[in-house]
Amino acid sequence: MNPILTSVPPYVLLAFAALAVLALPRRSGHAVAALATAFTFAQAVLLGDGGTGAHLATGFLGFDVVFFNVDQFSLLMGVVVGFLATAAVLYAYGTEAPKWVTSLALIYVSSTVGTIYAGDWLTLIFFWELMAVTSTLLVWQYGGAAVRAGYRYALFHGIGGTFLLGAVVVHGASMLGSVPAAEIFLFSSTTGIHASATLLAAIGIGVNCGFIFLHTWLPDTYPRPHVAASVFLSVFTTKTAVYVMYRAFPDGGLWLAYLGGFMAVYGAFFALLQYDPRRLLSYHIQAQVGYMLAGLGLATAVGDFAVTGGFAHLFNNVLYKSLLFMTVGVVVYRTGVEDIRDMGGLWRVMPVTFLLYLVGAASITAVPGFNGFISKGMVIDSAHEIHNYVLLLDSGLLWWLLILGGVGTFMSFIKLGYYMFFHGSATLSPKDATPFQTAGMVLAGGACVFFGVFYYQLIELMPFTEFILSEDVYFKPYSTSHLTESAWLMGAGFVGFFALKRPLGWLAHHMRDVDAVTYPAAFYLARGSVWGVTELWAAVDRAVMTAIAAVEWTAMNPREALGRAGVDVEIRTGIGRSVLFLTLAAGIALFVFILA
């Protein structure tokens, strides 16, 4: 079984399926798409621990490359991406997504899966750039406001991709000499990316992760395209980036952990200020990625437990974040309204959507019984062991950042739910979700509940399973302290939201994100530099032409030029002067020739 499975790279199937979606009628096309994504999921599950290894290894331009690298990490990514993509295809079918949306989404999934299964930096950067291209196309497909946002998105990812490409080149050059030249790009040759490429790699991957100040493309782009496209976009680019971050920095680093902590607070805070539901969720992507990075960053300081926590959170986040995008998408799809202040009272008319929203919100806010509770707890537990900057309660800055982010998350999802489903009287009376939308949402939501209750299954899928379940590690998610902590978070969230509702409303109108500065700055900088280069060139051109004209005039009118310089002489040689010159020449010749 395994040899057959490992010889089929799933992204090739997905690419063909993307073509099939275009070629076939809508229904059968989506069926093929769902089958292809389901195959990706099934393949990863079936391969399991027995299927690990570097498959489809070959050579490219004299370098060893691995097109299908199976290990614990790529497998867990394959499982969740395949699963969620299947749910998303169903959802897209139920949301009347045009063929082109599903097809582009599928080719985007294909490049994501390619990135996941890459076994060397060359393959990875290839699929990474492809991912940027395909996701941009997916955004552009929607037209309208999505085009300009997609253009900014492309700029961000083009720059980020170039940074990562630079990192790969530096990595390769630095590896020369330590391993055979052909193997310099293989993951197996080294642990993570070479130290000399650290900054380049961190920035390049950081753009996709949504590092603070590099994140503005997230809330800018994701609310704009088709609602089904948003579901795909919301989970793959950022989560793959976290995964690649681990590939590059398997040893983590406190810089990464603290960056994650600040992202959690920053993202949650700005999410609180949003009224566009998809924009609000986009800020939460940044916040949730912050938790994952905090876990991965503690790989050395805390150990494998933190890494597992980070990856578990990644895994769960794919499920609940897409679920949230799906439920919000249903509301937008049914009502056509994109401002939560214009919604309200929808829980009566959309009970299924409301329930599934509750599942997603409970998962992301880490309510006990849902999967987010398990993984976020692991990350926060890990952070509790860091005591660099101890604040209150004998806890460090990192822990407080993550807790603060958690409170913010609570507040914003209470806000989102309150505005969408309760607040005021129902002015809209749309229908509930379509059957296929429901199917997609139930798949994702079911997984959220399943992994929240049967959390050992979650750990089974994770790396370092035996270590986590061994006696050395204190892993009891439903201990009293965890439940108390969760209750405190929830209480603080409720009190916080209703207490701060008015100030937050005021702040939402006055607090802009950094893009209020960076976008105009970049725009005027670019325009200024274009103008500057053009004008500089024109100035150089004018100066050169003037100089040439001056030289030409002087050459053509030498006597007049001399006259202007104050020397008024005849410069043409007359007869007398000619004879003088001749005599002098003869004299000099005689003098030199005889005395030489």
Binding site: A555, M556, P558, R572, T573, G574, I575, R577, S578, V579, F581, L582, T583, A585, A586, I588, A589, L590, V592, F593, I594, A596
Partner: protein
């Protein structure tokens, strides 16, 4: 017996020079036929001499049964045959132009034949004093020809050349006198032996003699800074006269310098006197640079190409002073090639002046549209002057440059590299003025269409007579409309009564045009004959570098 060809070749043009005047008593236009016959015979004799030299080696003839070294000897070797051929061809070909361009009159053709005879003698003589005589014949006939159109400017140019040319010739004579004092002989080959036997290469008398000869011939060649007569003479002379003078007179003087330097004083003398070659190289370098730069400054085409000659002869003098085989070969090739190029260029400029009445660059905007063949030939010749292969202009420059670098490599002397650099810089200058000519000919006034009709119809008829005069353009064109469109960029208008041809659109006489095109093609053909030229001059080079 074939050595009799040599005195006959000199005698034919000299004796014929008397016929136009004698026949002029009876016929008004006897001059041209006489000159045509004489130069045709000369060309035949030159061909015969060439064949003879090619078959049996150098020819020599003792004049009047007085045996050398006492008597005067005439010699033809590979070098002199090459220059003789150039003289014969150019003098014959120029006649085709002189017939239509003037100056007319029997006395002009007498002078013309006298010049040709002098040049022939200069090339063939083997005697230093005899060389002075022919130098003077060439000089005096040139003075006369330059002033042949009787304008004030040409008279001044002629007078200037007369004065400085006479001083220059006197310097040469003085030099020959010193050499005679030192050796007691005037025969070139004999003097070559006597310098070693009776004097030495370090003898002040010999050195002074060479200095004076170089100064005298340098003036005739027109190297910087004693070139001042030459631009005036070339510019002011009638076009036909410029054509032959520019192609042959300086060329013959440069030939004389090669002959005196290598046959009389020999390469050993040059090698023994470093200072002499150094000074000559400096003067040559200055000449190349100054000539090119001055040429680039000119707007009158004849003056531009006149200054260009200063630069080209600088290269030839440099080739002489470098005293190595490659450079000398380059110098000789350039001597012949430059003669041909300048013949063609001045002929082309003269034809344009004849057909369209302009010699200034600005008067000839978009000449290529009205006169494509003339302009095309000028462009080809101009590019040859720059040294673009496959033109003979490239060959000469290339060999001189290679020889310069070789002499630097061999002796560690920076002068050679310096000359190579100077040649390169001068090539850039040459490119700049030739490109200017080509730009004016081909690209000036691109905005204008040939027929004004369509342009006028496209306008919004704000000027009331616009459309009307546009349609019957053929009749009314040369009225106010021409000036209204701006005479700067307008297409070239032919002068009244300019000849028409059925074959070409050029409004220039067709026979000289054919000659021009043949000349342009010949420079390219010669460019392909690099190896043949090397083969031909090899015996001469082997002899002087033995």
């Amino acid at each position: 017996m074939s050595d009799v060809l040599l005195p006959v070749a000199i005698a034919v043009p000299l004796v014929s020079a008397t016929f136009p005047i004698a026949l002029g008593l009876k016929y008004d236009d006897a001059g041209w036929p006489v000159a045509a016959v004489a130069t045709t015979v000369l060309a035949g004799l030159a061909a015969a001499i060439g064949v003879e030299v090619a078959r049996n080696g150098p020819l020599s003839h003792a004049l009047g049964t007085y045996e050398p070294p006492i008597g005067i000897e005439l010699v033809a070797d590979e070098l002199s045959v090459a220059v003789l051929a150039l003289v014969a061809v150019v003098s014959l070909a120029t006649l085709a132009f002189a017939r239509v361009a003037g100056p007319r009159g029997n006395s002009f053709y007498s002078g013309y034949l006298l010049l040709v005879g002098g040049l022939t003698g200069l090339v063939l003589t083997g005697d230093l004093f005899n060389m002075f005589v022919f130098l003077e014949i060439v000089g005096i006939s040139t003075y006369a020809l330059i002033a042949a159109d009787r304008s004030g400017a040409s008279a001044y140019a002629s007078l200037k050349y007369l004065v400085v040319g006479t001083v220059g010739a006197s310097l040469y004579l003085l030099g020959v006198g010193y050499a005679f004092l030192a050796t007691g002989t005037l025969n070139m080959l004999d003097m070559q032996v006597q310098i070693v036997e009776q004097a030495s290469y370090a003898d002040p008398l010999i050195r002074a003699s060479y200095a004076l000869i170089v100064a005298g011939l340098g003036l005739k060649i027109a190297v910087f800074p004693i070139h001042a007569w030459q631009p005036d003479a070339y510019q002011r002379a009638p076009d036909a006269v410029t054509t032959i003078v520019a192609a042959l007179v300086s060329t013959a003087s440069a030939y004389a310098l090669i002959r005196v330097s290598y046959t009389v004083f020999t390469v050993d003398f040059l090698a023994a006197n470093d200072a002499i070659t150094t000074v000559m190289l400096i003067v040559a370098g200055a000449s190349i640079l100054a000539g090119s730069a001055l040429a680039a400054m000119q707007s009158d085409l004849k003056r531009m190409f006149a200054y260009s000659s200063v630069a080209q002869f600088g290269m030839i003098v440099a080739a002489i002073a470098l005293a190595n085989e490659t450079a000398l070969l380059g110098g000789i090739v350039h001597l012949i090639g430059h003669g041909l190029l300048k013949f063609g260029l001045f002929l082309g400029v003269g034809l344009l002046a004849l057909g369209y009445g302009g010699r200034e660059l600005d008067d000839l905007a978009s000449a290529a549209r009205s006169a494509p063949y003339t302009a095309g030939a000028i462009a080809v010749l101009g590019l040859g002057l720059v040294g673009i292969p496959p033109s003979v202009g490239f060959l000469g420059k290339w060999y001189i440059g290679v020889g310069a670098v070789e002499s630097s490599m061999g002796a560690g002397d920076p002068a050679g590299i310096g000359i190579a650099v100077v040649i390169f810089v001068s090539t850039l200058f040459t490119l700049s003025y030739v490109a200017r000519v080509i730009e004016r000919f081909y690209f000036a006034g691109v905005g204008l269409s040939d027929g004004h009709g369509e342009e006028a119809h496209g306008d919004e008829h704000d000027a009331d007579d616009h459309g009307g005069s546009g349609s019957d353009h053929g009749v009314a064109a040369d009225g106010g409309r021409e000036s209204a469109t701006g005479d700067d960029d307008g297409p070239l208008t032919p002068v009244e009564g300019a000849p028409r041809s059925r074959l070409v659109p050029d409004r220039v006489p067709s026979v000289p045009l054919a000659v021009l095109i043949v000349a342009a093609l010949a420079t390219i053909a010669l460019g392909f004959g690099g190896y043949a030229l090397f083969e031909w001059f090899d015996p001469f080079l082997t002899e002087v570098f033995a």
